[in-house]
């Protein structure tokens, strides 16, 4: 096992796949010479050269269009959209093109393409640089949606995304880039569509994603220490495909479900999971399924305002305590 940061795991995942498959190429703004504004792709340009690691103009539509066109015609491109907010600038390619080409062509075309993007808040960057938009992506049929919370998952799931035959939007959380963790040595490929129980427990289930996972674990630890409440935390890891098996068996065991979501409230991914659980596991529930989310607002810039909007350890802790009492 090697200790890598979340950002180093991004570069490691891309490098692993570029080494084994020469159709893998990587494009984006400031990703090559500068190594990415989040320093997540440092070293790739030196290693693989300007033919495969390419700096682009600030032209998001052309970036996704080019990546998709290349994917349809035999490459396995990785495109970076620096902040997930800017996906809105080129959303046409997500919503109308890459997600539909395999289906509309009756399987003639495929689009093995990964769109990597920096997602989420916590940096005081204001309303256009802080959004959690994984739920937008989840709403479109035809794309896979991945959002890892640990360096090991970054590397393994990124490799799996690159090898996947469908377009994948890979959400990296900006506030996690600095965290460190063990990453398996040698080739590491994970499986899309698998959630993970990251903290076993018996009294309640928290389902969380990305930055909300470490916060959920901390809240669970505190609930155990302070009140002896034993909460299980499930890291969803990929929203599409969704591993309902892992979620359902946890909820069946604990009888309680909480989702912790960074996306704004309306149509957040938790709503989908709650609705599936209510539909399929209603009689296993011992109480209401509860969503803990960012309110339905753009993220404000001021310190105290951003802090109260994104679910915090304290908020997760007190909400769960309130409901279970």
């Amino acid at each position: 096992m090697a200790q890598l940061t979340y950002r180093e795991a991004v570069a490691a995942g891309i490098a692993q796949e570029m080494e084994r498959d020469e159709t893998v190429a990587f494009i984006g703004e400031d990703v090559a010479r500068a190594g990415g504004v989040f320093k997540a792709t440092v070293g790739l340009f030196d290693k693989f050269g300007p033919k495969r690691v390419i700096d682009t103009p600030i032209s998001e539509q052309a970036i996704l269009g080019a990546a998709m066109g290349a994917a349809m015609t035999g490459m396995r491109p990785i495109a970076e959209i620096m902040f997930s907010d800017f996906l809105a600038v080129c959303w046409d390619f997500v919503a109308n093109e890459m997600s539909k080409s395999r289906y509309m062509s009756d399987g003639q075309l495929k689009c093995p393409l990964v769109v990597r993007t920096g997602n989420g808040g916590g940096s005081r960057f204001g309303a256009q640089h802080s959004q959690s938009i994984e739920n937008w992506a989840m709403a479109i049929p035809g794309i896979k949606v991945v959002a890892p919370s640990t360096p090991a998952d970054v590397k393994g799931l990124l490799a799996a995304s690159i090898r996947d035959e469908d377009p994948v939007i890979f959400f990296e959380h900006k506030s996690l880039y600095a965290i460190k963790g063990e990453v398996p040595e040698g080739e590491h490929v994970d499986t899309l569509g698998t959630a993970k129980v990251v903290r076993p427990g018996k009294d309640a289930t928290i389902v969380a994603l990305a930055l909300m996972v470490p916060r959920a674990i901390q809240a669970a630890d505190k609930l155990m220490t302070d009140h002896g409440i034993d909460v299980e935390v499930v890291d969803i890891r990929t929203l599409v495909p969704l591993d309902m098996k892992t979620i359902s068996s946890s909820v069946a065991k604990t009888g309680r479900l909480f989702t912790v979501e960074e996306n704004p409230r309306l149509c957040g991914w938790g709503a989908e999971i709650v609705s599936i659980v209510v539909d399929e596991l209603f009689w296993d529930l011992d109480g209401p399924a509860v969503r803990i989310t960012t309110p339905h607002i753009p993220l404000p810039a001021a310190d105290n305002l951003e802090d109260i909007t994104i679910p915090s350890v304290d908020r997760i802790y007190s909400k769960i305590l309130d409901v279970l009492r």
């Binding site: 682009t56 204001g126 305002l305």
Partner: protein, 333 residues
């Protein structure tokens, strides 16, 4: 270097002094922000306008509150140039309740509607369409107001520029495309990501173009004068490309975002010299032509610094936004 004096004919000494003072105001605000951010005095990151002051100020000097500007992530300079309230801008950047946006916008979103500032913008070229709309509204209103989009060399590579130029030309809108070419988009030199000359992009749309030394306040003023008059007289859009240089990082603390240097320190230093820096150039002109003495200039500098200090004090002493404000100005579900 283009000598300033060749141009001064229709600018009075008073005009130049006013422009100089505004430029200095931007410089001193930004210098403060560059220092204060080191100690984490305010939330988030700031993109400073230092070195580009001779673009926004001489243009905005010719505008009224009823004219519109639409700006960028590097928007403090545009805000101040257009007459935005410096205290409230400072408080906004400090994330305070007295900020021009109540602390909810932050550095990249300073807007002062009463002053015709429809906002800085966090999305590169995001403000372009909005400026077209403002120009359209002015045209429909027939009030002679003009609309300005400030955008960088990097933003010139967004497709919306083509759409905007086409519409503005087609509909003869009172729009000024003000491209601030500071040679870099973030950490990449323009030449690596841009084909042809940016200014030439105006040509196929039949939009008159003015290429200027963006570090020469008078040069910019002259070009802006043509463009503003065209707009006011219903003669349609104009395109200005002002060559300049960003003396600071793309964003303060850029080396926390970077793994290696991307430009030569000598290059940066060159743009800070008397020959290149837009503020020092004006000062040299004043002194060489006996317009103002060194003492006069020091006096102006002190006045401006006092005003900036007041604004900073106001920002620091202002309260944080009330928590409840997070939910205000949003559609209720």
């Amino acid at each position: 270097m283009m000598s300033i004096k060749n141009y001064v004919n229709n600018l009075s000494d008073e005009d130049l002094k006013r422009i100089y003072k505004k430029m200095l105001m931007i410089r001193k605000c930004e210098e403060h922000l560059g220092e204060a951010t080191k100690n984490g005095a305010f939330p988030g990151a700031v993109h400073l306008y230092i070195g580009q002051e001779a673009i926004a100020v001489p243009l905005c000097d010719q505008l009224n509150d009823s004219d519109w500007i639409s700006s960028t992530h590097r928007g403090h300079g545009h805000f101040i140039a257009k007459g935005g309230d410096v205290k409230k801008m400072m408080a906004e950047i400090y994330g305070k309740s007295t900020g021009i946006c109540g602390g909810k916008g932050g550095s990249m979103h300073v807007a002062d509607f009463k002053k015709g500032i429809i906002g800085a913008n966090g999305v590169v070229a995001g403000g372009m369409g909005l400026a077209v709309g403002a120009a359209l509204a002015s045209k429909m209103d027939g009030n002679g107001a003009v609309s300005i989009i400030f955008f960088g060399d990097g933003a010139a590579n967004q497709g919306v520029l083509m759409e905007a130029m086409n519409i503005c030309s087609l509909w003869n809108l009172p729009m000024i495309f003000m491209c601030e070419n500071n040679q870099y988009s973030e950490f990449t030199h323009t030449s690596e990501v841009t084909s042809g000359k940016i200014i030439d992009r105006a040509e196929p749309f039949g939009i008159p173009k003015y290429e200027v030394d963006g570090n020469n306040a008078v040069d910019v003023w002259q070009a802006a004068y043509q463009a503003v008059q065209r707009g006011r007289n219903d003669e349609g859009p104009s395109f200005i490309e002002a060559h300049t240089y960003r003396q600071r990082g793309h964003v303060e603390f850029e080396y926390t975002f970077l793994s290696r240097t991307y430009r030569d320190q000598n290059e940066v230093e060159l743009w800070k010299t008397n020959e290149k820096d837009p503020i020092l150039r004006l000062e040299s002109y004043f002194i060489e032509h006996n317009k103002y003495s060194g003492d006069d200039i020091e006096k102006i500098q002190k006045e401006v610094q006092d005003e900036v200090d007041d604004a900073v004090k106001f920002a620091i002493e202002s309260p944080e936004p009330d928590i409840s404000s997070a939910m205000v100005h949003m559609i209720e579900r």
